[in-house]
Symmetry: C4
Subunit: 188 residues, 4 copies
């Protein structure tokens, strides 16, 4: 009896899951899905978070009625702390995050730093009926400056808050700390 190679070495499924939460609006669409952390095995036998997980937001523009251009998508990876900021927003609150992807890149072309800048803004509607989420991407090399924005209702934001709250311990890797399945020891 063998189990097939359905796991990465340290317990992560190889099957990529596609279950984004998406909202389609007049000028653009927005989707969100979690990206789990990776773990590396320590010589001591333990598992250590290697690369932190994120919640990936993707926005892409409308190019006609109910038509959207996926090729023009822009992404913004929310860290655990940025997720914490988002899920604790009051109905009148706003927040903004700034990323400079080049600074985080593993290819160390330092001169690239600052050449692509992203900012994500979440701004409450004045009447508390939802938020406007907009993503600005400035690329100094390509001389482009994209801005994509999506209005999100209170109900849609409640889905995001609930799903992000669920996902947060998973992107932190805390779901690996678990006592579940006392019966495992009896599998033989």
């Amino acid at each position: 009896s063998t189990s097939t190679a359905s796991h990465l070495p340290y317990g992560r499924s190889t099957d990529k899951i596609f279950a984004p939460y998406s909202v389609y609006k007049g000028k653009a669409a927005l989707s969100a899905d979690p990206l789990l952390p990776t773990f590396s095995k320590l010589e001591s036998g333990g598992l250590k978070v290697d690369r932190r997980g994120v919640i990936m937001l993707t926005l892409w523009p409308a190019i006609g009625e109910r038509k959207y251009d996926w090729d023009k998508r822009q992404k913004f990876a929310l860290s655990a702390t940025e997720v914490g900021s988002l899920i604790s927003l009051g109905s009148k609150d706003s927040c903004e995050f700034f990323h400079d992807p080049s600074m985080l890149s593993s290819c160390l072309i330092l001169s690239n730093a600052g050449q692509v800048r992203k900012s994500l803004s979440i701004k409450a509607h004045a009447d508390g009926s939802g938020y406007f989420i907009s993503l600005t991407v400035a690329n100094n090399v390509l001389k482009t400056n994209d801005r994509l924005g999506v209005p999100v209702t209170t109900a849609e934001f409640a889905v995001m808050r609930t799903a992000f709250t669920f996902a947060l311990p998973h992107i932190m890797g805390w779901d690996k700390y678990t006592n579940q399945r006392p019966q495992s020891a009896n599998l033989s």
Copy 2:
């Protein structure tokens, strides 16, 4: 050693679960249970949500003291966003959802569109002591117009809010994104 056919191809148990949350009141009864999404396998090896999950509400009328007629039940399938709306209702808030099941049907008899219309209303009691949940189903073909309503206490609504909050990531398929069970890699 083999595992019996206890799973759908992509990890979903074949055993249907019956664990509805039900409340029985004077004129009707209400029950709620989650219906999980289905997944399809991509050629790349990933899993993609095929049909979104819902929380299914069922209402059926009383026909005597503590007697209810299950044959006259009406159903309303709450989407993720409608669940988001419900779980974020304040104690004085109300909301209403409209469905036109024919428009969503896979059999493309377009002339049916609009012939069955459903609306679900959740209305706060004036004193904040709970909600009145009512479902109206208008069938233009059968010339019927059913209305079923159930008062729900704050405590009962708290159960629904908590259980729906728990279920929401599951009907979205987000519970498939998980790092759990580091020990799996050692099953051999």
Copy 3:
């Protein structure tokens, strides 16, 4: 390869778990732990909740300094809806539940109905700094009337609220609705 008899027929571990949350105060102690539902297998192959789960509260009296008499314990089984009431209590709210265990007993000695009555009261401190939880058990047969009470701080109540919120879907049986473990299909 076989799995040992570590499960009840329908997926419940046989190992009873003892992990109560307990608070010890001057006149009595209080503990809480969940009791899971039981399921029966339908001929169709599905699983149906048989007996609903509860959160069991146990109170027992102090009989000296840091000494408590477990033999004099009294129990109160909170239903899902009563748990809903408890976890949605505001810091100034109170609630009370009444049980008549004889009416629920499976031995149909109807004349017993009403001979043992229990009531559980959760009363907010006037200053919002916690609650007083008291259990009254009146036994008309034994002519006894026990009352046990425990003050609970805001922090202790927060533990109960969080743990009960976690446990609620489990005592309802909703944790059986799950998409987890996509890798299962690959066990062979």
Copy 4:
């Protein structure tokens, strides 16, 4: 077919997990991670919590720009009730916990009691924009008195609140009470 020794006798993974949530500030750094309870097997076949779990906070000082001295770390183990206190803090609230580790030690050198005292203070910023978390450790034997403090933003505290709320049932051992995995009975 055998499962390797990937579990402690009673269902706990042997792999130690390292996935702390850390914040690095000017004068010190703070990290938090859960420490699960241990269980002992009863003769009756049940499992009983042996040693309660905690959330371990670790603070260690900065010794230069972006340099921190891990050797000078101090730890504070939050009990379930202290976690309850932390996660229910309002944005203007503060709390303080006192530990006397010697009193809890299993080596019964009573004269040590009181010789090491720790206190953890969580104080809201006046403007509600976060908290200041500080740990004081007074060692009467070594004649030392360390104080480490870290300002925590609202977003960072939201991560802690969400992750601690997730972890609380796990450190209590309540995640062992579970109905999940109906399919288990079919593994053969």
